[in-house]
Amino acid sequence: MYKKILCTLCVVFFAFQFAYAQTGVVSGQVTDAETGESLPAASVLIAELERGAATDIDGQFRIGNVAPGTYTLRVTFIGYQTFSQSIEVTEGEETVVNPALETGAIGLDELVVSGYSVTPKRELTGSISTIRANEIQDVPLQNIESMMQGRAAGVQIESVSGNPGGAFRVLVRGNGSINAATEPLYIIDGVQISQSQQTDLTSSSPLNSLNPNDIESIEILKDAASAAIYGSQAAAGVVVITTKRGAQGATLVTARAETGIRDASRRVSYLNTEQYLDYYSEARGWTRDETRQSLLNFFGSPTGDDQLATTNWQEFIYDTGVTQKYTISLSGGDDRTRFYLSGGYEDTDGTAMNVKFDRMNLRTNFDHQITDRLQGGINLNLARNFQFGMCQDGNFINCAPSQAMFEAPMSFPFLQDGSYNPETRFGLDSNPAVVRDEVDRNVTVLSLVGNANLNYRVNDWLFVSGMAGLDYRSTEDEQYRSPIAAPAQNGFITNTNRSVNNFISNLVFNARQTFDAVHNVTGLIGTEYRRDFSKFASTRGDGFPGTFFKVLSASATPVTASGSFSEFRIGSYFSNVKYNYDERYFISLVGRFDGHSRFGSDTRWGFFPSASIAWRISEENFFNVGFIDELKLRAGYGTTGNAEIGNFAARDLYSALATYSYQGNTALTPTQLANPNLSWEEAQEINLGVDFSFLDGRITTEVDVYQKNNRNLLFERPLPNDSGFEDINENIGMVRNEGIEFNIRSVNVSGRDFIWSTRFNIGLLRNEIRELPDGEIIEPNSTTQRLEEGRPIGLIHVPEWAGVNPADGRPMWYDADGNLTYTPSQTDDAIAWKDGVANATGGFGNTFSYRGITLDTFFQFSFGKWGFASTDWFFTRNTEFLMNLDEIVLDRWREPGDMTYFPRAHHLGTDFPETANFRTTVGTHAIYNASYIRLKNITLSYDLPVSITQRVNLRGVRLFASAANLLTWTAWPYYDPELAFDPRDIYGNVTTASLPTERQINAGIEIQF
């Protein structure tokens, strides 16, 4: 492998001449067209060379060492339209340009980072959503994914867990896989990020190592025409993250400090002790005194008398957390060298018990012009982050999110003498206070993401770039339970060391040439190699002498030692050829040829092509609509792949399983039969789009319509068992996602002092299973995991609720024929009810700027998703387990004639005569609408006037206050309407005791000098 890196670099190293040709200089001053005031910190770029500079405090810029030729100079500044002008650089001369910027929105000249190249937006033929740094700069969130939430049409993002640093489920244009669902391909500065070997102690995102303040832009390649260049890894979408780079000019130092508080975004209303007594008495038919005595016998009294406890367990488990966050960055450079250096520290205490996230990171982005033809660079991010985790997502008696439901108010954490109460619902070792104080779940992640690259300009039209990158992540999981928390083992500690070594290198030839002034041809051809090698080792020791030590060496008995490794490799060739005629007619062809170690020997190489075209009608002579600046039609079709089929799913395997040993001889046992034809899942997608821009770029919109068919889905096909094998992995099945995406940005008011801009996006989505093996329904009797042709993934299939019988308070359902029944059967009476697909998602925001004051609000919404809150439903609606009671029981039947939603008070689910178990029978009444609108972010910021900052020799001072997830409007009655079990949850319709999303309020200051 290393030979390969060397070679990649060699080609580039030796392929240039160490000599400077004569060069020229571009310089000038950037001003406001209206006022003539100079604009500091505007971004100036020579587009073809991707070299730029930032203006200094007087708006001056200078880019030296530019090879002679014709270039496009592009100047961008927030709140102004992009300035673009062709310039001529001649040997030994200084070309002076003085751009005067018009206020208004950024138009179609902005650059978009697509696959292996940068494209002006007007030349795009596919569908790409871009999120820029200025949109998210003050959003007080830890995760890149949460910052993307609601900001890109058609990209659905749901929190898997509310713990800081937690993971997200990210769906780009819906979920198209059943057994091989995966995250999108994340690429940070050209390095593809591995999803292997993450912690299992808490929810965690592989993007945690990135400091959001370092991000320049996030591009989401949504359609196949854009993503096909990433071939077999692109079917779930591609997210390209670009970090900030230095620009030529005086060194800009940005220091930023911010602090804030956070809390669980929602609480659930449970009955208090007195209400509980009422209900329980009614359910058992006891007097209140009898009931009180019974509960006292069960729970005891915190005061040692006959007073029942009145504990608010939600307050015990969820409290206020504190965040502090500091970032300092330096950027600048001269005509040869540019740099961006930043260091960040974040320390966040989460809301649930001891949950915590902290991160230290260092980033270096360094570019150097070695000769006028050769440029080299290094991007490096080093990070250590730490999470104190929490077990969740299950009905676990010793995990806090479920304990918030399991512990009734009569239960209490501590006895009078301050010791742990041994009589909580599940005894001493599951007392929430013990879980809080006697259990550690430490996750330490060391991460290095970086690359070294060389770019060589062979001549005016050909560039070669080579890159070698590494994504290395080491994750140490340490779980400790004291002898109190784990009495059976007398305490234990588990250490698991995981690492992933993900190497990637590529060599790309980029060419661009114009013929006869109207035929513009650009193209790239490249090769890439990726190796993702992961391993883990895990040990556990039991038995500690008290709570003194938390190390393996202090444990009495070594219990387990296990470890293994796994890897995959991809070798690829790819090409993208683009042609446009006079910037009017565009065509783009992409092809990627991927060889993947996961595929069967007969299908190792796959070809992923796409083609797309665009027509800028507004450039036609006949087009003469004054208020429309830009009208472009786009159409594309292409194929991408999903290789997430398991590293060795195609092979013949004889596995060494120690537990299959005989008399001490480890067995090698046949476990899998090869399918040499096993292959990637394939997504074929057609995309049609229109881009509009009118009123001098004040309003820009994009509309896209797509249909994506994921075919050849991975399934296990049963084999005749008498062959000795039960099934074989095959490519069968198809899922379709189709939808419409709409995005609009407008500058509503653009005065000298006051600017008001609005943005809105929505993605409409429909998901449908088109083909299953032999057309058969999978899991036909499952309420939430039934898969059926013609239905969406995530169908909720339950009997229909008919309400409460007013005569006797019994629950009623409808049977298959629509008749009332007390004993519905899932098999016979369930109907296709709702589903977990969010059919409409998006966001909208407004930004108001008055002089230096900016107010930004951003709302995010999700509609159409329904779900089942299983823990809440099964455990908080009667007294069967003496757990919390949901407020829903207050609306219960009490006497004949009552028309209520909830049946009469009952102790057991089976208390209704000749009636199905009310607790466990999931009907339509158990399914709630998980639609919501959330005030995702609100920021108020104030930039001190230049007149003041100049006096203290600062380039800028900015004060800001912001809040995340401040308000949520939803009909969902439980903790969090974001229902995703894990990042690869295909159903999205069930939540089981997960940490809810956190609400945060922060304030901070940013100083530039």
């Binding site: 492998m1 390969k4 070679c7 990649t8 060699c10 080609v11 030796f14 392929a15 240039f16 001449q17 070669v464 060599l507 090769t527 391993k535 387990t560 296990s562 293994s564 796994s566 490799r569 991809i570 070798g571 060739y573 060889g595 170690s597 020997s601 190792r604 590293n647 060795f648 092979r651 395997l653 004889y654 596995s655 060494a656 399983l657 120690a658 537990t659 299959y660 040993s661 005989y662 008399q663 001490g664 001889n665 480890t666 067995a667 090698l668 046992t669 046949p670 476990t671 039969l673 399918n675 049963p718 084999l719 005749p720 068992n721 008498d722 062959s723 000795g724 094998f725 039960e726 074989i728």
Partner: protein, 503 residues
Amino acid sequence: MSKLKTVIYTGIAVILLWSCNDILESVEPATSLAPDEVLSSEEGVNALRASMYAKIRASESSMGFMTDYFVGPSAFTDETRNRPGSTRFQAYTAATGTDGETTHLAAYTDAYKIIQDANLIAGAIEEGVLDPNTHDRYRGEALAIRAFAMHHLVRALGYEPGMIPASGPGAGWDLGIIIRTEPTLHLDDADRRARSTVDEVYAQIFSDLSEAKSLLSGINDDNTYITEAFVDGLTARVNLYAGNWQAAADAAQNAIANFPGALSNTADAVAGMFHENQGNHPEALFKLVVNPDTENLTGAGTPTFTNNGPAAYTSVQWVAQIPTQFVIDKYDPEDYRLGWYGDCIENQRQGATASGCGDVNANAWSILKFNGVKGNTIDDYPYFRLAEAYLILAEASAKASNDATAGSGALNTLREARGLDPIETANPGALGSLQAFEDEILDERIRELAVEGHRYWDLKRLGRHITNPDGSTKIRNDSHRYLAPIPESRLGENDLLEQNPGY
């Protein structure tokens, strides 16, 4: 510039070549190997042999050759019943009328997984990997294990040769099981097949056993692997099922002759026979060794306390299947074999205290043949004991010569070893007719082999009704439930596979 071009082109060419299949194919899994690596090395073949034996214990998820094998045929008939309040194996014991669950008796998937390993050893080991003697021995073991698994399947799914009913739902039903004698090496090998007839299946079993006997000739010193004596014993058992009385008697004689040990004949030796720290299976022609510290009864997971061994069901944990009074009543008070029973609470070591054993038998005993004395619910398991050879010899000799007294010698040898008087004095009527002798043999088999996986098959091979402890009929011999069904999901994946009649 020309030099530069050369460098670039050379570099590209090298990269293109390197990126080829080699790099992608050299990725290997950490704990798995490709078949050729296993089948072409001695270590690989030894590990495969370990797999074949381990699978008898540890099929992926079920207990097909373990708890189902040993306890199932007893619970399904009259040897054990559920302790009141316990539900484990209730599906077997509660089978009445048209309900009941015979499916598990067949261990369908487990049996074919064992057969696959056996087929690999018998037919896929490359030449020269093993020395010829070892190669022969392994092949012999594999053929014997294949025969053993096939016989277990065919006795559950088909009528015995000669016992095919002339009327009723099973009239003329002569199908046995799918025969697989070739290893599944490629997807093409996993073809769809139809069931062969019972006669074809028995012919295959006899052929396997005959070859196994010659390959294992003289190998009798280690009963933790397949021995010649075990092959003899199994040959006797299969012939007994097939009604080949003389062949059964001859093979039983061979088993007795080839087995290096003898019947235990003191009260302590008999009582401690199954106890792994005492007798440790002195009569086993083949016993499967299970190490409770490292070996689970299911194939996956870290060894921890395992609660699905026979001991969990009979004596250590759930204490769910309790010997019936019907069984206890079969014993003479002098019988050494009463040492296999003991107080059900005293011998329990896990779980909530068992209560109500006394409702199943008056002494409140549990059966201690499997009692996990090494600290878990896992024991070593005897799949053929010397006593069974004597019982086969007795029954087959009598039937071969059509004379009950011809079987008394072998029967008396066993009775004497168990502390009992000869049958002539203890129950002279048993020698009065072949029918009476068969009844006596069945009783002796209960006394000797209870909860060792025999009772259901003994009744079935003789065409008798399946009975409850009180003597009432549970499944008539002309009921379709006499045969186990082929699991429904197996039918879905193979349209050539025919279900048994009535299901």
